[in-house]
């Protein structure tokens, strides 16, 4: 059966790749992002690929005052809602954040607080409905703070914890809450990095997301080998970990 899917951060490479897979099976989509032209281009593409519908809504995810009208627009355009994917985010410049409180808070807002705000709203919507899926792109970076990107890690860690609690609450209400933890993904967000063997393509990560939602999973590492890597990282004693350069 075709699904009605809201995608926030729809112009991100991973979200677009997931949207293409949903479009190919005829799902109806509602795309939210900051860049109108890009949203329109993606919507046109998804319609050709088979999407039953592809509406767009221009919004900065950190503008929480806009969230309710965005959700209302999505529900109206799609005639209801089955899945919400939250995929927006930025990769902060850790060094610059260390020198700027304002930048640190802005990054926490963008990658953490805005997600919490959206999930609060969506959680209530799906709870009242008694069905639905909330899928959120968190990160392996949220599993443990590391010197190289702990501002990002802190925001993602907040998201991961928040989703754990929300899942615990909504599990009784027939609502799926999926925490997605990608490792390194070759996207415009990571264009500046040199890519090694651990790097995944957005299409592969997207396939994992689509499958995890279909299967009603709670938490998924993408690609799967990151579960093992993070298991090790999480279990290194702090007195050792603090001396590592990770």
């Amino acid at each position: 059966m075709s699904k009605r899917i809201l995608i926030i951060g729809a112009t991100s490479a991973i979200a677009e790749a997931a949207a293409r897979q949903w479009a190919a099976r005829g799902d109806a989509l509602f795309l939210v992002g900051r860049k109108r032209q890009k949203l329109d281009d993606i919507a046109a593409d998804l319609k050709v690929r088979g999407a039953a519908n592809a509406g767009v809504f221009e919004m900065d995810a950190t503008d929480a005052a806009m969230h309710p009208s965005m959700l209302e627009a999505a529900v109206t355009a799609l005639g209801g809602l089955d899945v919400a994917l939250i995929a927006h985010g930025t990769l902060p410049d850790q060094k610059a954040c260390e020198a700027s409180v304002a930048m640190t808070l802005a990054e926490i807002d963008n990658n953490g607080l805005s997600v919490v705000a959206l999930c609060t709203l969506l959680g209530n919507h799906f709870e009242a409905q008694g069905s639905g899926s909330i899928a959120v792109i968190s990160s392996v970076a949220g599993d443990r703070g590391r010197q190289s990107n702990y501002v990002y890690g802190a925001a993602k860690g907040m998201v991961t914890r928040y989703l754990q609690g929300l899942r615990n609450r909504l599990a009784k209400k027939n609502v799926q809450v999926l925490t997605i933890k990608p490792g390194f993904v070759d996207t415009p967000m990571t264009a500046a990095f040199s890519k090694g063997a651990l790097w995944a393509q957005p299409g592969d990560v997207a396939r994992g997301i689509v499958a995890a939602i279909d299967k009603g999973r709670d938490e998924v590492y993408l690609p799967g080998f990151w579960r093992l890597i993070m298991l090790v990282i999480r279990h290194i004693p702090e007195f050792v970990f603090k001396k590592l350069s990770l």
Binding site: R49, V185, Q201
Partner: protein, 430 residues
């Protein structure tokens, strides 16, 4: 979407690298300001240096992979230039449409298909890719965006089709598709012995069928092979699955005189049912099922030699070439023989012309291979034929300029910021 890996050409010869590779991701954006020359790079399926720009900048186009519009009633499709023909098929085949012209691999971009004005097994019936192109947008280095079609900017239309990427960047294109009534192909096979039999069988096959192409065993004493003609059928057949892969590159070519003779004999001798129904994938794209098949030629890489010779000279010239190849002891497994139709080409520098085209792959044995090509060049030149730039890695500049006298008109349309390894090579001493 994800854009990774250094630009390469399909023949895996040793070309000097570009000084920079920049991924384009937004068709509305201006070209990046760079020093030196530019060239759009699609999916790297050209064999030689036509898609490379050693020392200059490559603009990687695979990020421009969005569809723009599709009218399922009229079969008119608009998409960005980095969309693969494979992506188009995945979207349009289930809705009853097919590419009007497709080359032997579906892993080429739309931009690359235009820039090389690619042809397929139906050239005699449908012409080349450019014949079904309705319009495209050309982005020039001065920022101008030209909407080109037969009606508007028709000079840019004709010079950009088959224009080898030299007139600017194609950002998006609108093509006309052809109707199909399922994924099935009705394929007919005939074994032939001798070129006379090929030409006779082929002439009849072209009358009766939309697609016709022949494999030729160029190592046999008397040329022999199999002619395969086909039409779209009715109904759907299951797509074959299970992609094979050449996992590593051997140090030396696995294609050599011994393996080739055995392989050709086995291929010729295998059962060729007179008539068979099959899915379109194995008919059009047999090699697409073997990922990285170009690795079988080993580290030195390989050349493809594809020429066309006019009808009156075709029989003798092809015979002479096959003799020269047999004498040289260098063989080709992927030897393909096909007649082009006589419709005028849409592009000023398009490769097809009325006559017969012969395409052959050769492992790179250095000087010996290049010497064979010189003998083949002499035959093609004497016959009034020409070579295909998309496959070329070595044709002499004077041969290119003699065979494509339109190059002088064409060169006025070359963007001053654009160049390629191929273009600098064939323009030397012009």
């Amino acid at each position: 979407m994800g854009v990774r890996g250094a630009a390469t050409a399909w023949g895996r010869l040793d070309w000097p690298a570009a000084s920079a590779e920049l991924a384009l991701g937004d068709r509305h954006a201006a070209l990046p300001p760079v020093e030196g020359s530019l060239l759009a790079y699609g999916n790297g399926r050209s064999y030689g240096d036509v898609g490379l720009n050693p020392g200059g900048t490559l603009l990687k186009m695979r990020g421009l992979d969005r569809f723009i519009a599709f009218d399922a009633d009229s079969g008119v499709l608009t998409c960005e230039a980095g969309v693969l023909l494979a992506d188009i098929l995945a979207v349009v085949v289930p809705r009853g449409w097919f590419l009007a012209v497709t080359p032997g691999t579906r892993f080429v971009t739309v931009g690359g298909a235009i820039a090389n004005d690619v042809h397929g097994k139906n050239h005699h019936a449908a012409g080349s890719f450019g014949d079904h192109l309705l319009s495209f947008e050309l982005l020039r280095s001065d920022g101008a965006r030209l909407i080109c079609s037969r009606e508007g900017n028709s000079d840019w239309f004709a010079t950009t089709i088959g224009g080898l990427g030299l007139t600017g960047v194609i950002t998006q294109a609108t093509i006309r598709l052809r109707r199909i009534r399922g994924t099935a192909m009705r394929v007919r096979n005939w074994r032939y012995t001798g070129l006379d039999e090929f030409f006779a069988l082929n002439a009849a096959a072209e009358q009766a069928h939309e697609y016709a192409v022949a494999w030729i065993d160029c190592l046999a004493k008397t040329p022999r092979g199999v002619l395969m003609a086909a039409d779209h059928g009715e109904g759907d057949l299951p797509a074959p699955h299970g992609e094979k892969r050449v996992p590593v590159t051997p140090p030396l070519s696995l294609v050599n005189g011994l393996s080739l003779r055995a392989f050709n004999a086995a291929y010729y001798g295998k059962p060729w049912p007179a008539e068979v129904h099959q899915h379109y994938l194995p008919y059009f794209y047999p090699l697409d099922a073997i990922r990285d098949w170009n690795r079988i030629y080993g580290n030195p890489g390989f050349y493809q030699y594809q020429c066309v010779v006019p009808p009156t000279a075709a029989r003798d010239a092809i015979g002479e070439m096959l003799d020269a190849i047999a004498t040289s002891g260098q063989g080709s497994f992927l030897a393909v023989l096909k007649n082009f139709g006589d419709r005028p080409t849409p592009g000023l520098l398009s490769f097809p012309m009325p006559g017969t085209t012969l395409a052959l792959d050769f492992p790179n044995h250095g000087a010996a291979t290049l010497a064979l090509f010189e003998r083949l060049d002499a035959i093609v030149r004497a016959a009034g034929g020409r070579l295909y730039a998309a496959k070329d890695a070595r044709m002499p500049g004077d041969f290119f300029r003699a065979a494509y006298p339109q190059w002088q008109d064409f060169s006025r349309f070359v963007d001053p910021k654009f160049s390629s390894g191929f273009w600098r090579r064939v323009m030397e001493q012009a």
